[in-house]
C-alpha cells in the first residue's frame, strides 16, 4: 500500500471523544489494586495504609474541621501568591514585549534572577519574614512570576507580524492594535505560562509549608509525621493531587472559553 493511500486513513483516525468517565479509569484501578494489596497484607500498614483507612482519617479530620481549615489556608496562600506573582510577571512580560527600552533595562536582570532556584531562598526568606504568611506568599509569587513572564513575553514577540502590519494598514492605533491583535495573539502562549505556573505554585507552597508554617496542608502532613499518622500523611499527598487537578481544570476551562477560535479547541 502506498503512502498516498495510507495518509487519508491516518488523518481520519481520531481519538474517541474523552468523556467525563474515561479519564478516571486509571486512578480507580490504582485505588483498587492498592486496597487489595493492603487488605491481603502484601503491603504492611505502617508502610502504606489502605485507601479506606486514608478515607477514614480524612473523615475524622473533616468532622473536626481541621481539614477544611488547613485546605482553606493553603488555597488562600496559593491563590494570593499566584495573583501577586502572576500580575507582576504579566506586567513585565507586556512591558518587555512591547517596549525595546523596557526590555533592554530589565530583561537581563530578570534572566539572571530566573536562574536562581527560588526554593534556595527559603533560609533567607525565613530570616526576612520569619514563618509569617508573607514568607509563603513571597515564595509562591516568585515561583509563579517566571513562567508567566517568559510566556507572556514570548507570546507577544511571536504575534504574526503580517497581522500587525494589516492592523496598521487599517488604521489601528496602538491601544486598538494591542486589544484586537497583539493580546489575543499572545493569549495561547500566556495560558501555557499559567499552567506551568500552577504546577510551580503548588510545589513552592508545599515545600514552604513543610519547612516553615504553623497551618496549612504541608504543616498538617509534617505534624502527622511527628505522630506516625501515616494515613494523614498519605491523605495530604492525595489532596495535593486533587487540588492540582482542580487548578489545571480551571485553567483549561478558561482556555476553552477564551480560545474558542483556535482550531485546537474547536469541537469536531
Amino acid at each position: 500500500m502506498s503512502i498516498v493511500e495510507i495518509l487519508p486513513r491516518v488523518r481520519s483516525f481520531r481519538l474517541p471523544r474523552i468523556d467525563g468517565l474515561t479519564q478516571w479509569i486509571v486512578p480507580l484501578v490504582i485505588l483498587l489494586v492498592w486496597q487489595a494489596a493492603c487488605v491481603t497484607g502484601y503491603v504492611p500498614a505502617r508502610v502504606m495504609p489502605a485507601p479506606t483507612d486514608v478515607a477514614l482519617a480524612g473523615w475524622k479530620l473533616l468532622v473536626s474541621g481541621e481539614l477544611a481549615q488547613n485546605i482553606w489556608v493553603s488555597f488562600w496562600r496559593a491563590s494570593v501568591g499566584f495573583l501577586i506573582g502572576g500580575s507582576i510577571g504579566f506586567a513585565f512580560g507586556l512591558a518587555n514585549g512591547l517596549s525595546q527600552l523596557s526590555s533592554k533595562l530589565t530583561d537581563t536582570t530578570l534572566q539572571m534572577v530566573r536562574n536562581v532556584p527560588h526554593l534556595a531562598l527559603i533560609p533567607l526568606v525565613i530570616l526576612w519574614f520569619g514563618i509569617d504568611e508573607s514568607a509563603k506568599l513571597f515564595l509562591v509569587a516568585l515561583g509563579v512570576f517566571f513562567p508567566i513572564y517568559l510566556n507572556t513575553l514570548h507570546g507577544i514577540r511571536t504575534v504574526d507580524p503580517q497581522l500587525i502590519e494589516m492592523g496598521r494598514i487599517y488604521g489601528m492605533r496602538n491601544s486598538e492594535l494591542f486589544r484586537r491583535v497583539i493580546f489575543p495573539g499572545a493569549l495561547p502562549s500566556i495560558f501555557v505560562g499559567v499552567r506551568f505556573a500552577l504546577g510551580i505554585m503548588w510545589l513552592t507552597l508545599i515545600v514552604a509549608e513543610t519547612i516553615a508554617a504553623s497551618s496549612g496542608l504541608g504543616y498538617m502532613a509534617m505534624q502527622a509525621r511527628e505522630f506516625m499518622q501515616i494515613d494523614v500523611v498519605v491523605l495530604s499527598i492525595l489532596i495535593y493531587a486533587l487540588l492540582g487537578k482542580v487548578a489545571d481544570s480551571a485553567s483549561r476551562g478558561l482556555e476553552r472559553l477564551t480560545l474558542s477560535w483556535h482550531p485546537a479547541f474547536q469541537k469536531h
Binding site: 502590519e165 494589516m166 494598514i169 487599517y170 488604521g171 484586537r180 489575543p184 483556535h262 474547536q266
Partner: protein
C-alpha cells in the same frame, strides 16, 4: 467622430479579428473601461521612483501614469521589483527617491491592499474581520450593516459568525476582499491575492474581482505572476524587468472576456515570450 467612439468600434471588432496581437498593435489603440459610468477611482502618477534595500537597488526609476478607474496588472519574474512597486504605491514602504501622487488629497481608507495571505484575525468572527476594514469608522453605528453588505457582495453573508479557521482558502480570500472593499476604496492594490488558490477557485475569484471592479469603479493595481490572469482581468499589463517597466501593453479586448479565447491566448503568448526572453522557444517551453 471622437476617439472614444472609434475605440468602441475597435472593441467590437476585437472578437472577430483573428490576427496575432502584438504589442505594437495593442499600443496603437487605447483601451478604456467598457462602462460609460464615471469612475470613483483615483488617478496615479509616478515619477522617477527608486527603491533600494541597502546596496540592492530594486526599483531603478519607474515613471508611470494610471488613469482613474483603470485595471492595471503588473507582471514580471520573481525579484523583479513588482511587489516592491505595489508596496510603495500602497504607502507601506517609503521610496528612496521619486514621487507618487494621486492627483488629490487621499484619506487612508481610499487606498486598500490585499495580500497573498488573507491576514484575517483568527480570533475574530468573519463579520468582525470585515469591520476592521472600516478604518476609523469601525466604531460608527452602521459599522455592522456596512460590513454585512460587503460580505453579501462577496457571497459569504451566511458565514458571518464563523471563525476564519473553518473557511476554505478561497473563502478566506473573499473575506479579505470584503474587508478591503468595505470602506469603498478608490484604489485597490492587490499583491498576488490569488497566488495560493487552486486553479478553479482562482478563476471564480478572478470573476468576482472583475465584477466588483466593474461595479465599484475603483482604480485597480494587480501584481501577479500569472500572465493569463493579467490578460483576463486588466486593461493594461506592465512587464517589469530589472526594476524598470520593460513593456506597457494595452489589453484591447472587449469585456466580458471569454476565458481561453484566441485573442487572450495570443496576447498571453506574446507577453510570456517577452518575459522568458528570446531563448524560450528554443528550449521547448
Amino acid at each position: 467622430m471622437t476617439v472614444q467612439q472609434s475605440l468602441r468600434l475597435s472593441h467590437a471588432d476585437a472578437q472577430v479579428i483573428d490576427a496575432p496581437v502584438d504589442f505594437e498593435q495593442a499600443r496603437a489603440t487605447q483601451a478604456r473601461r467598457p462602462s460609460e459610468q464615471k469612475s470613483r477611482g483615483l488617478s496615479l502618477t509616478i515619477r522617477g521612483l527608486r527603491k533600494s534595500f541597502g546596496s540592492n537597488e530594486v526599483l531603478r526609476g519607474v515613471d508611470l501614469h494610471i488613469p482613474a478607474g483603470q485595471f492595471v496588472a503588473i507582471v514580471g519574474q520573481s525579484g523583479c521589483g513588482k511587489s516592491t512597486l505595489l508596496r510603495l504605491i500602497a504607502g507601506l514602504d517609503a521610496p528612496t527617491a521619486g514621487t507618487i501622487s494621486f492627483g488629490e488629497e487621499t484619506r487612508p481608507e481610499d487606498i486598500r491592499v490585499m495580500f497573498q495571505e488573507p491576514r484575517l484575525l483568527p480570533w475574530a468572527s468573519v463579520l468582525s474581520n470585515v469591520e476592521v476594514g472600516l478604518g476609523t469608522d469601525r466604531t460608527s453605528a452602521d459599522a455592522k450593516a456596512r460590513a454585512e453588505s460587503a460580505l453579501t457582495e462577496v457571497g459569504l453573508a451566511e458565514k458571518r459568525d464563523q471563525w476564519p479557521s473553518v473557511l476554505s482558502g478561497g473563502q478566506k480570500q473573499r473575506v479579505a476582499l470584503a474587508r478591503a472593499l468595505v470602506s469603498h476604496p478608490r484604489v485597490l492594490a492587490l499583491d498576488e491575492p490569488l497566488g495560493a488558490l487552486d486553479a478553479l477557485t482562482r478563476i471564480s475569484m478572478q470573476q468576482l474581482l472583475g465584477r466588483v471592479w466593474h461595479d465599484q469603479t475603483f482604480t485597480s493595481i494587480l501584481v501577479t505572476h500569472d500572465v493569463s490572469e493579467a490578460v483576463a482581468l486588466a486593461d493594461r499589463v506592465l512587464v517589469i524587468e530589472d526594476g524598470r517597466i520593460a513593456h506597457d501593453i494595452n489589453v484591447d479586448i472587449a469585456r466580458p472576456r471569454q476565458r481561453g479565447s484566441a485573442d487572450l491566448a495570443a496576447l498571453e503568448g506574446s507577453i510570456l515570450r517577452n518575459l522568458l526572453g528570446p531563448g524560450a522557444d528554443a528550449t521547448g517551453l
